[in-house]
Symmetry: C3
Subunit: 154 residues, 3 copies
């Protein structure tokens, strides 16, 4: 078993089968070793988390939604790496959007749910640049959407 897969198992995380977008775009593109992953949300076969953080959801629930989003990002990254997460050199950048109630100013603490997961799974290589941006709503009513750039090993 790969090192990263062993770490996921230790953390009790099972990666979902990545869904195929039902449109003319793809889950990821790999160009010159850079992986660009399409925006993902807290959507799994079992459930879709919805609601605005600061109104329908607490900060803690938003954090969990961002962590669940991170699991979807790692599942897409595994696909991009040809099934072998040990080929991931580093996480480069996140751009995370949070559906925030008016006056809820803690979008960065929500996106920490994804950032913390990436460091738990990939260690120092999981540290990344990022922005955490509030918006008034997100597709399907989800609370969090995050896109990611990663780098594979040469």
């Amino acid at each position: 078993m790969s090192k990263v897969e062993a770490r996921l198992k230790e953390l009790g995380i099972a990666l979902p089968e990545p869904s195929s977008p039902i449109a003319n775009y793809v889950n990821y593109k790999v160009v010159d070793g850079f992986v660009y992953i399409s925006g993902k949300g807290p959507v799994s076969p079992e459930r879709t988390v919805t609601g605005k953080v600061g109104a329908d959801l607490t900060l803690e629930q938003g954090y969990e939604a961002a962590r669940l989003t991170g699991i979807s990002l790692i599942a897409a990254l595994k696909q991009a790496a040809g099934g072998d997460l040990d080929r991931v050199d580093q996480i480069v950048k996140l751009l995370g959007f949070v559906a925030c109630a008016d006056g809820f100013y803690d979008a960065p603490k929500v996106i920490n749910g994804c950032s913390d997961l990436l460091v738990e799974v990939f260690g120092d290589g999981g540290r990344h640049a990022r922005s955490a941006i509030p918006t008034h709503q997100l597709p399907l009513g989800i609370p969090v959407e995050i896109e990611m750039i990663a780098r594979l090993k040469d």
Copy 2:
């Protein structure tokens, strides 16, 4: 005539002359074969589409606005490719914003207007990673703004 230009003609699409930004930024940057194109909207010399999707505009009108935005992106990409669209290897990524009325959750279906166009024009090389993000409004009152990363052939 280049293959892509022939395809544009077949689709009945005439590329506008790209406007020059009236500020200290540029339409595009080419670095290491990657083309970064500045955010574009459904703005042409003939008309500027305005309004929020889900209130002033229907989903279908939003889709058309995203398609019109895609035409502007291709026009800028042609400029970046030194006038020859056959030098485009692939479309890498879109980040699309949609001015959405409260409770309009279909921003991805709006951005499909641009995604579908790119695949019509560039074929499989037109498939891309993307995010589709709602916002409460956009500059000039436009309904759609999209930025793009593409890759030129070596």
Copy 3:
């Protein structure tokens, strides 16, 4: 003194000491000569600018906030360049968000505060692709958040 540092001095700009993010992300990542800088705002040890442009702040005050944000981005870029800003080849791209009051459509003119600064400091190499996107609010109540991609010299 480096050329860029001399230019900063001429402009009367003192770079702040970049703050360390208190979470599992970093100020910047350098990969293959590309520098990805995390979203920054008009936050300095002396003050944090807050408010929405078009309501609490005028366009001019928003422009100044974007300029202050640009100074933070240059400070992080200096760190990424190992302390030597003359190693910066070019600024590639900005993605700027502006907390806008309903009906304030001039987010691009706000982000000009950062774009103008980059050209003042780096000359032609400072010209960049960009998007300027309104949002209903930003973290901590700040009016502007901008992330940046730059390229170092080989």
